[in-house]
């Protein structure tokens, strides 16, 4: 669908998933985010760059801080990508249910 469905690649790293999870509680500056990891701050910055390039976060400058914020659009696209598969696994559940019903006879 969209040009950069590299959202998957961006979220393939546990570190970056953790970053997005932290941003669920609201926008945060880099040092705040970096404090949750044992790796160096520049490495966290690099991960943030990947998330930025995927459109998953945006930055907003505030003095010498850069406040990172979660961006909804790519996640919505991910959800849409998942849609055809949702139908698939709901069928699975339906099949299971009819199977159980038959056993109840």
């Amino acid at each position: 669908m969209s040009a950069d469905l590299d959202v998957f690649a961006a979220l393939a790293s546990p570190v970056r998933r953790e970053l997005t999870a932290l941003l669920l509680d609201g926008p945060r500056p880099v040092n705040d985010l970096a404090s949750h990891f044992t790796m160096s701050r520049p490495s966290v910055s690099e991960h943030l760059k990947v998330l930025r390039d995927a459109g998953l976060v945006s930055e907003q400058r505030n003095g010498r801080q850069r406040i990172y914020q979660l961006e909804a659009a790519p996640l919505r696209e991910l959800s849409e990508w998942l849609h055809p598969y949702e139908r698939f696994w709901l069928e699975k559940l339906a099949n299971l249910r009819t199977l159980l019903d038959e056993e109840d006879l």
Copy 2:
């Protein structure tokens, strides 16, 4: 949640996403799947192994063929992972709507 949320890593490859998309139409043997790609069949086999290890597909032997089938569970987990973010982007939409309403005054 689950031990192997490497579902993201498995889906990070466009080739593997294409494979799962092909399997949406139903189970298929390896050669059938491989015929949709320009890369060698062994490479497709390797991609299938990654999908297998992530639990995204299962194989069922039928004579000398191995029929691959999509597995629903990891996709459901992916959907569940997405849930908190869904709330997030719905709020975004709500904010946008109230903003538009205010403009209508």
